[in-house]
């Protein structure tokens, strides 16, 4: 248990001891090395890590200890010994014996160390360099031949291991086992030949492998994409937030000459502790992709996109949006400030509530749930730590919110927290969580949820965004929560969804949780915005918006960073009918059909706030200095001015201040439960289920091949019975098809519910929406 955690618990017993002549009181169970930290005394260390179990592997932290007047005969490892009352500790600062012992250990560590700092990525920020200077001898007495190994070997496509440099501290192996639950690396051999190795059968395909690179105290584990890129003094480091999921990791972005070279997990004990996932760490190259849009583009009479000046593009966009009935598709990746800009723009400049951030399968039930149970509420990671049971509904923690997974895994490992999952099969992540599985076909979640019992008011129900794909499931979850008193939390996949909800970028809510249907709330907002009227009818969901575009009643669309395939497989023919204004970072499917395109800033180039699933604001400043790109809200403000209906949000900070000044409305929409319907699947067909994997074909992962190399291979999962019926063996190709198209993938025979077939939703060779046109429902499965 970390000191922070111990300190939170106020009932804990305090123990007083003396270190280097100073008295200090610390909670019982604290390690000597950490008690010394509290006094500002730094004992050198390598293997010790506050979030990992102590092992005492490196012996660098030796100190002299005396308990009850009796001295330990030899110096002791301060990272493994808990404090005791009246203990007297003498570190290297006051004990010649401890100092000599530390110097001896350092000399031993350096015997086999190559000292190739000049070509080592850790050089300049290396604990071994630093502590060899502070706690080592001046000269080596070693004259023999050093142990050598083949220089770096890849333990995965993104992590390289230089065994010569490894000091066998076991931080990496402990992390993999204790924190990530992926024990793919281990310490092999013994003595001088001891080395970190991978299990031969299983590749090191952990979603969290980057953390081992960050905590390795030497340059033994390095990231392939940062290899030889820079020295610490070249980098400008900026605290930032992760744009990849709703976990809300604190991050640090390191930039050299305007280019992001690496991102590291930040240190936030209440959210990501000191970890992040590999996507957050390594997926940032999309910012520097060749297809970045740098100037406004407009479509000329010949139908070709051409570069245009800002005034020309603004005038054209304003004209198109003003003359037609317009709607707004925001997408789930924008910051709170930008979402607020879209929200206000829709209401004030376009005078419509047809705005939706949910570019995915949606339902009226979901938006009713979001407006009644999610917006304006707060729940946090501590609630997960303290829960007596967790229920996962339409939510694969490891794939869809990896830091939530790490939190759950921590509690599972520590106190066998009970986890129940409603899913078609036990995924790898859920197996690690030892989750009790309620095997359920896609579409019949509602009846499965209604059978869950034994929840208490200390239980937490985690609802993923995919639960909205199953009619009545959210209602069943709400009923379950109401009857048991359990807490409800909604965990979307994308980083911007919660912020967009709070900002009212949804058809039934205005900013600050004001229901559109509540006339008092509307008047309140009208006064705050200084406008004369706000549209009073709840607007259309994203799929309905596209339907109206198809019917020709909505004739203009404002689109902000949306992959339209997420909403409809036929987006192209539909959206071509409308006048499309798009705010984008890079050329995309929308650029192909847009009439006006404005370039916007990527996350590292702007400041903003993401709201994570807890409803915690994650504010960040621009990491790349002097970027010319503008945040969406700035462009929307210019566009509104051009339309003569100003939204007056010229900067990100003005949008943030205005949003904060609105406050949260006190009154919520009421929830109207919807009853579930069970899907009817013909007996010769299968029921498709799918979700996105953490590492897949998502556009924010473009350009990072090393990362893509650790994505899990695309497979279609079927049950043993179905495999027998189809006469296929594990690994043979099967074809899944609908009237629209097909997907052919190698099959994996697993304990999946018999009626179902599972495929990854957006991976290589498996683009479900594009190929099949559906995300769940009836498909035929044949041997290919």
């Amino acid at each position: 248990m970390s000191t922070q955690e111990l300190a939170i618990d106020t009932t804990v017993e305090m123990i007083t001891l003396t270190i280097d002549g100073f008295e200090v009181s610390v909670p019982k169970g604290t390690l000597v090395i950490r008690a010394a930290e509290k006094l500002g005394i730094q004992i050198p260390r390598f293997c010790d890590h506050p979030l990992l179990d102590p092992v005492g592997a490196c012996r660098q932290c030796l100190v002299e200890i005396e308990v009850n007047g009796r001295k330990f005969p030899k110096p002791q490892a301060s990272c493994t010994i808990p404090v005791e009352p009246g203990m007297i500790v003498n570190t290297q600062l006051t004990s010649a014996v401890a100092d000599k012992a530390q110097q001896g250990v350092m000399e031993l560590l350096l015997i086999n160390h190559p000292l190739d700092c000049a070509v080592c990525d850790k050089g300049g920020e290396c604990p071994l360099q630093n502590q060899a200077m502070s706690n080592g001898g001046e000269e080596s007495r070693f004259e023999g031949t050093k142990r050598t190994f083949e220089k770096p070997i890849s333990i995965s496509s993104q992590v390289l291991l230089d065994r010569e440099r490894c000091i066998l501290c076991a931080r990496c192996t402990r992390f993999s086992e204790e924190i990530a639950g992926d024990p793919f690396i281990t310490l092999n051999e013994r003595g001088a030949l001891q080395q970190v190795g991978i299990y031969e059968k299983e590749p090191f395909e952990s979603y969290f492998s980057g953390n081992t690179v960050q905590i390795c105290p030497v340059g033994a584990l390095t990231g392939a994409s940062y290899r030889f890129r820079a020295r610490p003094f070249d980098l400008i480091s900026t605290p930032s937030a992760c744009e990849h999921c709703a976990s809300g990791c604190d991050m640090r972005t390191d930039v050299r000459r305007g280019k992001t070279l690496r991102r590291l997990a930040g240190d936030d004990a209440s959210v990501n502790e000191e970890w992040n996932c590999d996507k957050g760490r390594w997926a940032f190259k999309y910012v520097n992709a060749n297809d970045r849009i740098t100037t406004p583009l407009i479509r000329d009479e010949g139908g070709r996109l051409r570069e245009a000046s800002w005034p020309e593009a603004l005038a054209l966009a304003a004209k198109g949006l003003k003359e037609n009935r317009s709607a707004v598709l925001v997408g789930g990746r924008v910051t709170l400030e930008d979402a607020y800009g879209y929200s206000k723009f829709a209401r004030v400049a376009l005078k419509t509530n047809d705005i939706d951030f949910r570019s995915r399968v949606t339902s009226k039930e979901e938006r009713n749930f979001l407006a009644s149970h999610v917006v304006g509420t707060q729940i946090n990671y501590r609630d997960l730590d303290k829960a007596d049971q967790i229920v996962l509904l339409g939510f694969e923690a490891e794939e869809e919110s990896p830091i939530v997974f790490l939190r759950l895994y921590k509690q599972v490992r520590k106190r066998e927290l009970k986890i129940t999952a409603v899913a078609p099969f036990a995924s790898r992540g859920n197996k690690k969580l030892k989750a009790e599985l309620i095997a359920t076909q896609a579409g019949s979640e509602a009846s499965a949820i209604s059978k869950i019992s034994n929840l208490s008011n200390k239980s937490v129900i985690l609802i993923g965004e995919r639960l909205s794909e199953s009619t009545g499931a959210i209602s069943a979850a709400v009923t379950l929560a109401t009857s048991s008193g359990a807490k409800l939390a909604w965990i979307p996949r994308r980083a911007g969804e919660r912020g967009a909800l709070e900002a009212g970028a949804i058809p039934n809510l205005l900013p600050g949780a004001r229901p559109v249907s509540d006339s008092v709330a509307r008047v309140d907002l009208q006064a705050a915005w200084g406008v004369s009227g706000l549209p009073s009818n709840p607007g259309l969901d994203s799929d309905e918006i596209l339907k109206e575009v198809e019917r020709g009643s909505i004739r203009a669309l404002l689109v902000g960073g949306v992959d339209p395939l997420d909403i409809s497989p036929d987006y192209q023919t539909i959206m071509e009918k409308a006048f499309v204004v798009s705010l984008e970072i890079r050329h995309s499917a929308v650029t192909q059909i847009a009439n006006v395109v404005f370039p916007v800033a990527a996350v590292v180039e702007k400041s903003g706030t993401f709201i994570n699933w807890e409803s915690r604001g994650r504010f960040f400043e621009a990491a790349v200095p002097d970027s010319l790109s503008r945040s969406d809200v700035r462009i929307l403000s210019m566009l509104a001015d051009e339309m003569d209906s100003s939204i007056n949000l010229p900067t990100v900070s003005s949008a943030r201040d205005e949003f904060n000044s609105l406050g949260t409305w006190h009154h919520r929409e009421s929830f109207t439960p919807v009853s579930g319907i069970s899907p009817s699947i013909a007996s010769d067909k299968a029921n498709l289920c799918s979700w996105r994997l953490l590492l897949d074909a998502g556009s924010l992962q473009d350009g990072e091949n090393n990362l893509a190399g650790t994505a899990h291979p695309s497979v279609a999962m079927i049950s043993k019975n179905r495999a027998d019926a189809l006469d296929v063996n594990d690994g043979e190709l099967i074809r899944i098809s609908t009237s629209r198209g097909q997907i052919t993938l190698p099959c994996q025979i697993d304990q999946i519910e018999d009626g179902s077939v599972w495929v990854p939703r957006n991976s290589a060779n498996s683009k479900v929406i594009e190929s099949l046109g559906i995300t769940s429902g009836e498909v035929s499965v044949v041997k290919a």
């Binding site: 000049a118 070509v119 300049g124 220089k151 890129r229 070249d234």
Partner: protein, 210 residues
């Protein structure tokens, strides 16, 4: 000249200091002999050997340890000594050096071992020729030559690239990229055991010193 005006301080301290520091003691012109002394210096110089050097026709020799422009050296087989470690850039007090490292890969071995400098620039608008970079370099890749004619007419031209700084190929050297000497690794290079290139290192089939 004397139109700057000092605000009188209450203590008159500045005034006092100014008066005390004035060396002029009298106002009369110097006497005849005193003047003659001055002219004598001028006159006698007419018979001395002039110090003027007819630069640029005549180029003076500089002392052996002179800090001239830099050079990036090679091993005897032509591989570059620089490993792109950036220690020179780190040491430089004028922030004149810019280095980007890169991975040596099979088919693209530029220097021995894992790492080479993909980009190496010295900005001679900034360099103060202190030589600290030379001391920092762990491989003796960077040294200074006696060459001092660096002046140029644009800022861009004064940023020297790796190609400008690299030592020319001497006899026995091969133009990288080429593999390391057979049966050797970077340690042999660092111990200076590679004395010339080996025919098998020439992967182009051409002769030496292209």
């Amino acid at each position: 000249m004397s139109n700057f005006h000092l605000e009188p301080r209450p203590s008159g301290a500045i005034q006092k200091a100014a008066e005390q520091s004035l060396p002029v003691t009298g106002t009369e012109p110097a006497g005849f002999f005193t003047q003659l002394k001055g002219f004598w210096v001028t006159f006698s110089t007419m018979f001395k050997k002039p110090n003027t050097i007819e630069y640029p026709e005549v180029k003076p020799e500089v002392a052996p340890g002179f800090h001239g422009r830099h050079q990036l050296n090679r091993y005897e087989d032509g591989l570059e000594k620089c490993i792109g470690c950036e220690l020179c850039a780190w040491a430089c007090p004028a922030d004149a050096i810019y280095v980007e490292g890169e991975n040596n890969s099979e088919g693209n071995q530029i220097s021995p071992g894992e790492r080479y400098a993909k980009v190496y620039q010295i900005n001679y608008l900034r360099c103060i020729f202190c030589g600290l970079c030379i001391e920092a370099c762990p491989t003796r890749a960077l040294t200074m030559t006696n060459e001092y004619e660096i002046a140029d007419d644009t800022r861009e031209k004064l940023i020297w690239e790796k190609g400008d700084l690299l030592a020319p190929l001497r006899a026995g050297m091969l133009m990288p990229p080429h593999p390391m000497y057979p049966e050797s690794d970077h340690h042999n290079y660092y111990r200076n055991e590679i004395r010339e290139s080996h025919p098998s290192q020439d992967t182009t089939g051409g002769g030496q010193s292209r």
